[in-house]
Subunit: 339 residues, 4 copies
């Protein structure tokens, strides 16, 4: 850590600073410039409170971190790409997650029809919400356990592992009985109790980026899960809030290579939530694979106007099938193969 | 709701649209312009799924809402300012919440010292975290129940009602045993299971704005709590994420009159989290009261460099006392009195 | 245009409203719902001041536009993709602009070396700044006319048309003497006097998106140029300001298909300014082409540490050559060919 | 400046680095930690290109600045508050600029009426645009020189100095003949040629913050003007772009004390452009003065629905007069007096 001192700091402040640094196990290196004195504090930056304490010391103007605040999620800790296995589907290290399905599980018949079509098109993971995070208390909140059972049955019937969202710590055990992968939604990315509990579950996790989360924040949330013992985390870019009002969110495509440089965890892209517009989803899915993403997450519904949630952002099954053909070509162009 | 049709829509799409509108209980009013046909759909816009269904109908280019998506939180539903009582402290309708205290409860001695000083300066609510939402799993996570007990004891000793954060549905009962008011933090503003459960608690709620939440989103989250039966909700502006990197967040001061125009709920401002900088807190507290806020929430610590959480953004007790004097003058200037 | 009236509007306000609408040439269609009265105003939404006047009328709560505010830039006005010719290079309609070169023109020798290498790698347009928009008055401001001459000479030597920035109306004539294409930088996207003057120039224009410009704002700025008579406008996505602090800007990749749906103008992507990080540029260039962009704009320098401007974000010539190979494969996968 | 080296840097890279530092006049201080080697570079950080060169050096992971990039605008360079005089009006050092008037100059009669009323209410500077920056080429673009003459005549008649916008370098001489203060609009905050030329003008300048400008960017733009010789710069916070869609921009109120801490220049607030909503303007004006601003800039029009520009965001003269009464009380509460 580097401490930049204020121009008019006193000798007393300086002595107090060095004392505190040493108390906390840091070795100080002092450099005096024409305008500022800086103190390099050699030691463990991730020591709890260190950065905060330094920021409080009288006479300190600025504290600059050198190390990253996450460890288990970092590429330095684990050089090779992590490959996460969800049933028979592998994600990462050149293998693409092709996640598709409706926003919410609505009935066996509807999900069965969609699952058959996305499987035929090449999807290798089925999604569908049973517990739905809705902005309005008056919107459809999901079928709960009934939805989980339908999802399980349909997944088994079509040979597709299934992923579904967990919104609350009390739902984890239940969801683990039915799902192959647990999703943490954008709005819960910093629900730290949920992260800790999921970290103790035995199922792989799909962690979506929060709408105002930096890449570092996302990796810190992954660190919570990893630190609690669950090593199977797949990250998901799904757009962030911005001033652009013609799309639902702004897809931060650069987060894909940005994360791959810093972390060994797989990162996929969800163009459905990122754009909220079916006309933009296919090209964003292609771009994601070209950018190096480990998969794409696309909402598909056979009758969007009958959907109970987020119909407007779903592709029709035949649109998804067309997309998958183009995706095959782009994946091949960047040296990856769809399974 | 208003539906704008695409220039080249077919007669079949148009007929299907009218049929669906009528099925759902809406009366259509058609206006044909030179460039577009628009259909006014007279009916209940808050009917679950209505907006989403309309957005999915073939031939529809755009769907425009007329009504607000929240009801119980709206000024139209409840004209007069709501006054929330927390113990002996009243918030709203000209009465100011003056919330102060450390970020986290650390020990009886430290909290006791701070409480005595902020009470003397004029604070009427004591804050302190026992369950702490921390970005890093390696940071201090709060004292849990031990912290709640200390908070209760110190509050009682000084005659200050107490407010503390609840992060998970499993903590609600426990926290209700000790606290006078339950805080929902920014990161949990859209933790909908938590909102629903808190809506059934018997304690007033302090609901903080999420970092990427619009004013409408904040009011929708309040609607969750109100709809579940808890009418005592105080909103809190604490800054949102922005590109400005010299403050921790960007304080959206205009949200104060903006919310007051739309909702009867009290709204206070937290300049500590909004700016993250003690040098900016006092002027932002004064500005909040001048803008019409129903109170201010300020972190105070007697020894920031020994604080276990967020020390760098706390005022010292004597700085808080000075601020309270200026606050008195500004409150008087806008026709309010500190109790 | 649709006018939503306030719940308690008076009959007098209503009559005044209808009168004003008719005065301005609009035909009103009134629909009365349970909660609101809405008035459809059939007429020309782009009539100067119409929207502003409606917003001012007493009793009006909200004014909703139906038509787009731009016309000449719209896909409705001109169905087919516009192809812009810059010397022998064609941009749009399946033809890719491959723009490369240093941030600033520094000397004949350096530019000559870079131009030879990017030409060999497949670039078809050479860039280089002679007038540089720098945040600091103390930074290198460009070589001015001397830089323009070097750019012209090097372009001619290597058979590459050249593009360079114009920052001020007084520079237009001079730059037109040397350049094949005029660039308007992000900071000048809403310098309306510059847009009007460039609209009268005889050279094609590369218009970069402003850092806080929506897609609609960008198209409105293009409309200024088109309305002044210059039909040869190429748009450029180069990232917008966001809270993410690990990249220079946030590349809004979805703007590519978003713009293609609304406008006939070519749109290219500049991953150099969008990310500011050489490690992210290649994958973002590939993603741009996969997303349907009509080209990519990449900064290349043979010795970044000697560059007088923006060295840190440049690729080395051999990195650019590698990128171009991958770009060939991705372009082929989406049905496009590099010339 | 501090250079953080990559974990695996080579000895050759390290030697090259030290050599370059010394060539450029910096003295290196090396500190070796467990995870990283850091090099403190003691010297002039504002040396052109220094930061960029360091960022390009092989083996360098991160470059951290210590000093601020602006000098003449900084509080360190000039301790006391600058007081800018515009005719008989003083701005800064406890004196408030009370700028009022219509968005655009429309006719002598309208401006005369407005000027009389705002003067009576206490305004001490009259505003009105003759050259208007409009998003659409089809909107009213201002009366040009005719507007300048009207503004001058009305200002003289009522004894109010006048401020008006300059959009292009070619207009400066003309505007200087008529105006007492030159305004640079938000969209031109980084029009560097305009800044340089205005820096040579003999009139004080009102520099508005750009919609995506950080506080540092704003101060760098002020530095351009100061460096060119014009010391009379007043800054203006007028809101920045954000995801909040119920106000036109987001007023960054904390920028007021934030700028006052770093710079000696006066800073005023424009709640009209910041919010775009007359219902929010008065409380934001009061908050601005409570926050320590050196004045407020408010649009006033006697008949907003007849205004040729931005009518919807103007206060009526009687609303302005009421606001000024409250402003008097708040100013007194923070120790300032309206003249």
């Amino acid at each position: 850590m580097i401490l930049v001192l204020r121009p008019g700091h006193t000798q007393e402040q300086f002595d107090h600073l060095l004392e505190r640094l040493q108390e906390m196990g840091f070795t100080p290196h002092v450099s005096r410039g024409q305008h500022r004195t800086i103190v390099g504090a050699i030691g463990d930056e991730n020591l709890p409170q260190a950065e905060e304490v330094f920021n409080c010391l009288p006479g300190v103007e600025q504290v600059l971190r050198i190390q990253k605040p996450f460890k288990l999620a970092s590429r330095e800790f684990h050089r090779a790409d992590t490959v996460v296995e969800v049933g028979t589907t592998k994600i990462g290290g050149g293998r693409l997650a092709l996640i598709a399905g409706p926003c919410a599980v609505e009935s066996f018949e509807i999900l069965d029809e969609i699952a058959g079509k996305v499987k035929a098109a090449g999807a290798n993971l089925l999604r569908g919400g049973a517990f739905k995070p809705r902005t309005s208390p008056y919107s459809f909140q999901g079928l709960g356990e009934k939805g989980l059972k339908i999802l399980r049955d349909v997944g088994t019937k079509h040979g597709l592992p299934v992923v579904t969202e967990v919104m609350d710590t009390r739902q984890i055990d239940l969801v683990c009985q039915y799902a192959d992968m647990l999703q943490i939604g954008a709005r819960n990315m910093q629900n730290f109790d949920l992260l800790k509990e999921i970290g103790q579950a035995k199922k792989p996790v799909l962690l979506k980026r929060g709408m105002s989360a930096t890449v570092k924040d996302l990796l810190m949330s992954a660190e919570y899960i990893l630190a609690a013992g669950n090593k199977n985390v797949v990250l998901c870019e799904r757009g962030v809030r911005s001033f652009e009002d013609s799309t639902r969110n702004m897809l931060d495509m650069a987060s894909v290579p940005n994360i791959k440089g810093q972390s060994h965890l797989p990162i996929i892209v969800d163009p459905s939530h990122a754009t909220g517009r079916p006309d933009l989803i296919p090209s964003m899915a292609l771009a994601a694979v070209a950018a190096g993403a480990d998969g794409v997450h696309v909402e598909v519904h056979s009758c969007p106007e009958k959907a109970l949630s987020d119909g407007p952002q779903a592709l029709l099954p035949h649109q998804y099938a067309e997309l998958m053909k183009s995706l095959c070509s782009v994946a091949a162009a960047v040296g990856k193969a769809l399974s």
